[in-house]
């Protein structure tokens, strides 16, 4: 069985709103996976089920072979870390250090280990110089990194990022990309919800598409972004470079580099 496995999962909120229907998915350790789809398609509900912030109405979720129904949210927190979409839903301490240290302290780790964990997580998130500051002295974009650091400090096997690129500038998006690569090399699973298709194309080999409460496709970016029918159905758009490639007469291109390479190939063929 995969490390994290969703089996026929449906979820209906207390007010009767059915958010997802019959979702199946497997995630192995070391995989990085993007989840895309319209607002309201069921993405956030799905990931909240993965760390038992919600429990499936139907179906089951297994983490490391154990159903989330048979364990506690606190136990799951050691295995699956969720970074909220809105950082302000997550931050509650009065210094960044305390905020990041809260998780590992709660795990009753040795003070030295806690300190080490905080320093490493702060370094990854670019917060080393800001540890003594109040979280709310930092802008929204940086507060998002505080919440990422707080989850990294717990050292979970699976890290879920809910729209980490929202409101981030180019440098921060690059930082996120590098972080995802590093985590994946450390054999962690990273599951990321995002609306930034350029980010998806650059950083992920596997993409899950949600539309209208269901998982519609689980495939490579190339398969997804060149499937016109799927994109129309899911209200998604091709990345700009795919659109450009189409006009220039190419197919199966995802990035600027891909497109330039195709053109080089065409020129060489022409010169020969």
């Amino acid at each position: 069985m995969a490390y994290l496995s969703l089996r026929n999962v449906s979820y209906t909120y207390e007010n009767g709103y059915e958010a997802i229907q019959n979702v199946n998915a497997d995630f192995e350790l070391g995989e990085s996976v993007a989840i895309i789809g319209q607002n309201g398609a069921g993405k956030t509900t799905t990931v909240k089920l993965m760390n038992k912030l919600l429990t499936p109405t139907k179906g089951e979720i297994f983490i490391d072979g154990i159903s989330t129904k048979e364990t506690t949210t606190a136990k799951i927190a050691k295995k699956v870390g969720y970074v909220f979409q809105n950082p302000d839903d997550q931050i509650f301490q009065d210094t960044i250090y305390k905020e990041i240290a809260f998780g590992p302290k709660y795990q009753k780790l040795d003070n030295k280990v806690v300190e080490e964990r905080v320093n490493v997580a702060a370094e990854i998130c670019g917060l080393t110089d800001a540890l003594s500051e109040h979280p709310y002295n930092l802008p929204y974009s940086k507060r998002k990194f505080i919440t990422i650091a707080a989850v990294l400090a717990m050292d979970p096997k699976v890290i879920i990022l809910d729209e980490p690129t929202a409101g981030q500038d180019r440098e921060s998006i690059e930082r996120l990309g590098n972080m995802i690569k590093d985590l994946s090399e450390q054999n962690k699973t990273v599951i990321t919800i995002t609306h930034d298709m350029e980010f998806v194309v650059r950083e992920f080999n596997r993409v899950i598409v949600f539309a209208d409460k269901q998982k519609r496709r689980d495939a490579s970016p190339m398969e997804i972004f060149w499937d016109e029918q799927l994109l129309t159905f899911s209200h998604l758009k091709q990345p700009y470079i795919c659109q450009l490639a189409t006009i220039l007469g190419y197919k199966d291109v995802l990035t600027i580099e891909d497109l330039l390479e195709r053109e080089r190939g065409k020129n060489e063929a022409y010169n020969n």
Binding site: G37, D88, A166, G167, E171, S172, H195
Partner: protein, 249 residues
């Protein structure tokens, strides 16, 4: 308005809106004039009817005192004493434009991030301000909803509104904006027509972003060691247009 995080974009918006130094304390030099009058001569309520402001984080924008989306959109109008019939007509109109029909009876706090963002913007436009300042209005939105917001801004522009937009989605800015201001470390480092600024590689050195299409033409010119085309296309539409004009690029 573009630029790296913490380059001063939000601060400028707060100054224009009159929040500095009244609400956010600090030292302010220089002056902002609206309709020829310094903003310090306006009272903050008066400014609120001239300038609509949407906060960066839609989660902080919502009033917190209204229980339905419908009432949330009407809240600003209630405060400035708009008549009930006028208010209802306006809310209905906005609900249509922002495609909020299915949400009007929901509690604003039960909405998704993207839905909250649309409600927040609708509530500002309800007050019919001349100037609309939007600080990253599409940060929580999917690509299609982002484009919907840009289309609404385009309509408002046609109605003669001035729109100041802080936004990282340069590909959309390329399509919809007249001018670009680039901020870096507290200074305005580049201003000009969209076409000019968003095709200038120096934007990258200042921590800004360029549209994907422009980046492609810049990288292509670098790779082939050729000059950039005189007018670098920034959008798919511009590429199509120049292709049909020149035959090839």
């Amino acid at each position: 308005m573009i630029g790296a995080n913490e380059s001063g974009k939000t601060t400028i918006c707060n100054i224009i809106r009159g929040f500095v130094p009244e609400l956010y304390k600090g030292e302010l030099t220089g002056e902002i004039l609206i309709k020829g009058k310094p903003i310090s001569d306006y009272n903050i309520g008066e400014l609120a009817t001239i300038i609509g402001y949407s906060f960066q984080n839609p989660f902080t924008q919502l009033s917190g005192v209204k229980e339905t989306v419908y009432e949330e959109i009407a809240y600003g109008m209630e405060n400035i004493g708009v008549s009930r019939t006028e208010m209802m007509t306006k809310v209905d109109e906005l609900v249509d434009i922002f495609q909020l029909n299915d949400l009007i009876d929901k509690n604003p706090y039960q909405l998704s991030g993207g839905q909250k963002q649309r409600v927040a913007i609708a509530s500002i436009i309800a007050l019919d301000p001349d100037i609309i300042i939007l600080d990253e209005p599409t940060s929580q939105l999917d690509p299609k909803s982002s484009e919907d917001i840009f289309n609404i801004l385009h309509l408002l522009k046609k109605q003669g509104k001035t729109i100041i937009l802080v936004e990282h989605k340069v590909d959309l800015l390329a399509e919809y904006c007249d001018e670009i201001l680039l901020m870096d470390q507290g200074q305005l480092v580049m201003t000009g027509p969209t076409q000019e600024v968003l095709s200038n590689p120096s934007v990258l050195e200042y921590g800004g972003q360029l549209p994907q299409i422009a980046l492609y033409y810049i990288k292509k010119a670098q790779e082939n060691n050729t000059e950039l085309p005189k007018t670098v296309p920034l959008t798919i539409r511009e590429v199509s247009e120049s292709l049909s004009k020149d035959g090839d690029m």
